[in-house]
């Protein structure tokens, strides 16, 4: 079974339904998805119908959908928000938390209420604290490529043939494990320390320093130094680190997978 084929024939064009749900985020994640530019048209032409997304379409009630992209953390003092999150879990088969807020709380971890006009809005939790989330796409803002890869692989997981399902499962497994791990929803530079450096896994490659969206990480004598007073808890450093998760067999076929992803987007 050659699952790492580059050519794309045999993908049945049988669209899935996809929705974007905006909780307490800043729409940066939706902007990142839209920053696939022409790729968005390929996805919407061939693979997915956008059935919900207040920012893009006029649908006002959440319909049933195959894949729900949730952006933003959830204010547990806002009944509308908590009800909506439960409704999304109920109505979608795959729930993907996109961006730092939905995955690990991001800047809303610092919120503590006391502000007009609702001083009691003080507690914001990542989505996976309230419902089971299937896949995480961390980082603030998530990258268009990461969102595209996850969307394509999720499509293959749902509609691909056996080989494609196997490949999609392999690719998505670490992001699914992250969604269920004890540290996934609490990711910050701390996680990089506690789950990589303190466990003797860091080899000073610098991936974290490059991935950090607030330049909180510098490399000192070959090891990351994270300014906790700059970190926004987005989880990019931990997830980008090759020693957070790494699948040798998958990565050895990087050329074929990159090729396949490019072909899918033509």
């Amino acid at each position: 079974m050659e699952i790492f084929t580059e050519h794309v024939n045999g993908i049945m064009i049988h669209k899935i339904t996809i929705g974007h749900i905006h909780e307490s985020g800043c729409t940066g994640c939706l902007a990142a998805l839209m920053d696939n530019y022409q790729g968005i048209f390929t996805i919407l032409d061939k693979y997915a119908d956008l059935v919900y997304g207040l920012t893009l379409v006029d649908v006002r009630k959440i319909p049933k959908m195959d894949v729900a992209l949730i952006e933003g953390s959830v204010c547990i003092q806002d009944k509308l928000a908590t009800d909506e999150v439960r409704e999304v879990r109920d109505k979608s088969s795959v729930v993907i938390a996109i961006g730092g807020c939905a995955c690990s709380g991001n800047i809303t971890r610092f919120d503590r209420g006391g502000q007009q006009n609702q001083p009691q809005h003080e507690s914001f939790v990542p989505v996976s604290d309230l419902i089971d989330v299937d896949i995480f796409v961390p980082a603030c803002a998530p990258t268009p490529e990461a969102l595209r890869n996850v969307c394509v692989m999720t499509y293959l997981l749902l509609r691909g043939n056996d080989e494609q399902k196997a490949l999609a499962g392999m690719y998505l497994k670490p992001l699914m494990d992250l969604a269920r791990s004890p540290y996934g929803s609490k990711a910050s530079f701390n996680t990089l320390m506690q789950e990589v450096i303190n466990l003797g896994l860091c080899m000073g490659c610098g991936s974290c320093a490059a991935a950090c969206p607030v330049r909180a990480i510098t490399m000192e004598y070959g090891k990351p130094q994270g300014l906790r007073d700059l970190c926004v808890n987005c989880g990019a450093c931990f997830s980008q680190c090759p020693r957070s998760f790494f699948d040798h067999e998958l990565m050895e076929h990087h050329e074929q997978i990159m090729g396949m992803l490019k072909a899918v987007m033509q």
Binding site: P138, E145, N149, E195, G200, M203, G204, G206, A210
Partner: protein, 288 residues
């Protein structure tokens, strides 16, 4: 377990560029390949390990001219966080076709940045040439300083070249004296992160090169990916390298396989031991 990874061809090679060969670690493969690629516009810059304010401490930098490339020659054997400059190369440096050289873990990081670009927006498609170098282990700067200044009794500032090979850690100074240490002495200073590494010859690079398996002054070069094959082919056509078939040189591919097997077996054992490091508790294993 194919310890050498997938490759399209392997050959013993040496650069034909005298200037590069003057101060290269072995066959001058990396510097020549990048010099050629830069000239031909295959890449418009490369992330390399260049000099820093401290002697023999490398610092990643973005080289966009031949002169800058030459500054990065010679292995430093201590940690150089290459990937920390990978994104910046596409940002304030404005590059669109980025070359990068790295040890196997850094090549793995590069491929992860392409496949899981969690924090690497607009980097995946801008990586144009990935050159890997063999690596048995890497020392933190202070560890390497200790080896050279205490065990080898040399001043870091006066060291001209360092080599690890044939079971020896060799230090050569500017004024020509040579000190050799048994590798056994240096093991405890190795970076712990290296002890879980299961890749000796940069299996996922486009082209990977190292001294092992080839005679002195030559390098054993694996051509692995389509890009690697394409760039290596053009460079060969342009006469950048002279090559010998790998089976006609001593000690040949068996030595590479031997060392690779040795490293991967040793480290796999470490990975397995970590599974029961505590009492009924494991240290987290990043590999799926």
């Amino acid at each position: 377990m194919n310890v050498l990874g997938k490759y399209k061809s392997v050959v013993s090679a040496r650069s034909t560029d005298k200037e590069i060969l003057k101060a290269s670690q072995d066959g001058g493969i990396v510097t020549s390949l990048f010099a050629y690629a830069l000239e031909q516009g295959i890449i418009d810059g490369a992330v390399l390990a260049g000099p820093s304010s401290r002697p023999w401490q490398p610092q990643p930098f973005v080289a966009t001219t031949r002169a800058e490339l030459l500054k990065a020659r010679g292995t430093k054997y201590n940690i150089c966080p290459q990937i920390s400059m990978l994104k910046e190369a596409t940002r304030s440096y404005g590059l669109d076709k980025v070359g990068i050289v790295g040890v196997p873990c850094q090549i793995q990081a590069t491929r992860k940045a392409q496949l899981y670009p969690i924090g690497m927006r607009d980097v995946p498609d801008k990586i144009a040439l990935v050159v890997g170098i063999y690596c048995m282990e890497v020392f933190p700067y202070k560890g390497m300083q200790l080896i050279v200044e205490d065990h080898a009794g040399q001043k870091l500032q006066s060291v001209k070249k360092m080599e690890i090979g044939k079971g020896k850690f060799t230090v050569i100074t500017e004024r020509g004296n040579v000190t050799q240490l048994p590798l056994k002495v240096t093991h405890k200073y190795e970076q712990p992160g290296c002890h879980v590494c299961l890749d000796y010859v940069a299996n996922t690079a486009d082209v990977s090169t190292g001294s092992v398996g080839s005679p002195d002054g030559w390098s054993t070069v694996f051509v692995r990916s389509r890009i690697g094959e394409d760039v290596w082919g053009k460079a060969m056509a342009a006469g950048c390298f002279e090559t010998k078939p790998i089976d006609q040189v001593k000690p040949g591919l068996e030595m590479v396989t031997k060392l690779a097997t040795e490293k991967i077996t040793k480290n796999q054992k470490t990975v397995d031991e970590r599974a029961h490091f505590g009492v009924g508790k494991a240290l987290r294993n990043p590999y799926i």
